[in-house]
Symmetry: C2
Subunit: 364 residues, 2 copies
């Protein structure tokens, strides 16, 4: 395999682009990892060589996010959607209620599943604004007795992102960070629980990171399956059963890649620049538009409409010819969406902007 293998510009919302360097390493080690004569996916999770992989992945994530010592980091099978049940099963005990912020598709899914395991109070919603904005914090009807407040810092489908951490007092703040984690600096100490499916900014689908303040462990409901009990998983270093070993190995490679890029602070600068230039290209054109309140436009997921939906099919076709893939917007929103996670380079964003300008020139 040459290092000049063709790589498209990949704007997939998830499972999403991974750093080429990470895939190259995975490829080169696929048959013979660490000169052991086997793949990393062919070895027991209890093997010291593999346990070192898992331990390093955790430590690298701790370094990248400066995770305080009183937080546990666990890796769990499945995606963030499973956390919609796991969070209430772990934090509500055998009763209790929780507050949820509704800012779009993923918030709503968390609310619906959460409501199956406890009393759920929707403290605010921007549904009437078609989820194009975030309700002012002053309007949230928080319950000081809630077990937690759940929110979605970045709505992957809507393209709506919180720029600040909402102040919810002493009630633990729980965040689905699937599509924003590691894209910018983060004060973990403001949270009770952070969870993130890997398939956007961390790795492949099938593994989820959970960061939990240790005083929130040990509150699981009787009906919580053992493998979903944060406390038990944490006490067994995420190896209560066989973890998704290859998926965790890929996470580890991504964490090392992030460190080589200069960490989350360096990514934040690049991501800000990428997002700003793409929104600027949209705003400075009459052909493209983005409906989101400019205060809350996502750095990671940039939905945009063309002047007419009649152009959509041709736009996608031409883009694909130009090596710009997976730009079709989610059916709930329509139009286009460019997901520009960490692994999507500034070059890819530049290529998209050039293509958009050229398409506009030909069709306006």
């Amino acid at each position: 395999m040459g290092t000049d293998t063709y790589r498209a510009h990949n704007f997939s919302a998830g499972p999403a682009a991974l750093p080429t360097e990470v895939l190259e390493q995975a490829r080169d080690e696929m048959l013979n990892w660490q000169d052991r004569g086997l793949s990393v996916m062919e070895i027991s999770h209890r093997n010291p060589a593999y346990m070192a992989v898992a331990k390093e992945a955790e430590q690298d994530l701790r370094d990248l996010l400066s995770i305080p010592d009183n937080y546990r980091v666990i890796f769990m099978s499945g995606g963030a959607t499973s956390q919609f049940a796991m969070v209430p099963l772990n934090l509500l005990g055998n009763g209790g209620r929780a507050d949820y912020v509704d800012t779009g598709h993923w918030s709503l899914k968390a609310i619906r599943e959460g409501g199956r395991f406890g009393e759920v109070n929707v403290v605010c919603s921007s549904e009437e604004q078609s989820y194009t904005t975030i309700p002012d914090r002053s309007e949230w009807k928080l319950d000081p007795e809630a077990a937690y407040v759940h929110y979605t810092p970045n709505e992957t489908i809507g393209g709506l992102e919180f720029m600040d951490i909402p102040d919810v007092g002493d009630v633990p703040l729980v965040a689905d960070m699937s599509s924003t984690i590691l894209s910018r600096s983060l004060d973990v100490s403001k949270y009770g629980v952070i969870y993130a499916g890997a398939q956007k900014n961390i790795g492949q689908a099938g593994i989820t990171v959970v960061i939990i303040r240790d005083d929130l462990l040990g509150k699981a409901a009787d009906a919580c399956p053992t493998l979903w009990n944060y406390q038990q998983v944490a006490d067994n270093d995420s190896m209560l059963n066989t973890p998704p070993t290859f998926a965790l190995y890929i996470c580890g490679l991504v964490f090392k890649w992030l460190k080589r890029q200069g960490g989350v602070e360096a990514m934040e600068k690049i991501n800000k620049r990428k997002a700003e230039k793409l929104y600027k290209a949209i705003d400075s054109s009459d052909f493209y538009s983005n409906p989101i309140d400019p205060r809350y436009r996502s750095w990671m997921n940039v939905p945009f409409r063309l002047k007419s939906d009649d152009f959509n099919a041709e736009f996608l076709q031409e883009a694909e010819k130009a090596g710009l893939l997976n730009l079709k917007g989610h059916r709930a929103v329509g139009g286009m969406r460019a997901s520009i996670y960490n692994a999507v380079s500034e070059d890819s964003v530049d290529a998209l902007i050039s293509f958009m300008a050229e398409f506009e020139r030909k069709h306006d």
Copy 2:
């Protein structure tokens, strides 16, 4: 990468050896799958190209096991251990009881977790025989009103395997086939539910296959998380949420590899031969021993002891030097264990037998 990459003889109990051809294909496609300029792990599960992968994987498994049309095949995140909770959550409804057969470590784990979600009746146990045999079917105290009978056709740690399917009348039979599925022909129609974690005979850790008779769907308890509801997962073609896409792709490659080998019937012949020659080598020596009732010796997991445990460390060290890896037995049993799944070639078994003979010659 050359095709002559060093590959050890890998006797890992799981995550276990995969066919070299499968890993080669995964390696070669890692950066540029189907000439799309991206990895299969970097694409949405809703992309038609990926959906074709998922559909083919299911169909190939159906072909390999001749799965009848009234059975649904689903792929779920996580390992078989999660099924220990999922089975009762899906089959017991909001009450009800189930029968469990206890033949070792994994049976017991299923019993313990099952008991958290319903009334569990242990119908027989070979614990008093240190799990070296299987209680005669005539001794099982079955409950005709049970929602199901659960058993473990192959105990990975003990090395104990059912050679026939137990007759349990009209009560649905549920089997944890993690370490035996696809190793020999199987009459799926005798079962209510078959589940198998992938990391032995199917693929990498983090994905589990569930084969379920369709009349058993729709019985889930209220407390069953949506993502664990067999009916909902089946109705959404295993894409109720993002599945572990790369893990499923690897399963698909393994299924294609199995078809190229001549299917399960061809593997059965090879596996029988591999197991018989290894047990023969053990039995014909005074240096090695296997404690299992010869009627129930596992074809997949062959535990054996050396004349004295004092030789264990040297045996493992010398084996490793000879390229024979992961032979250490589970701590619950001690000694050695050779797991000889489908992907472990007859050459590897021959190499092990030669090594064992040479080691005996030097130490007896």
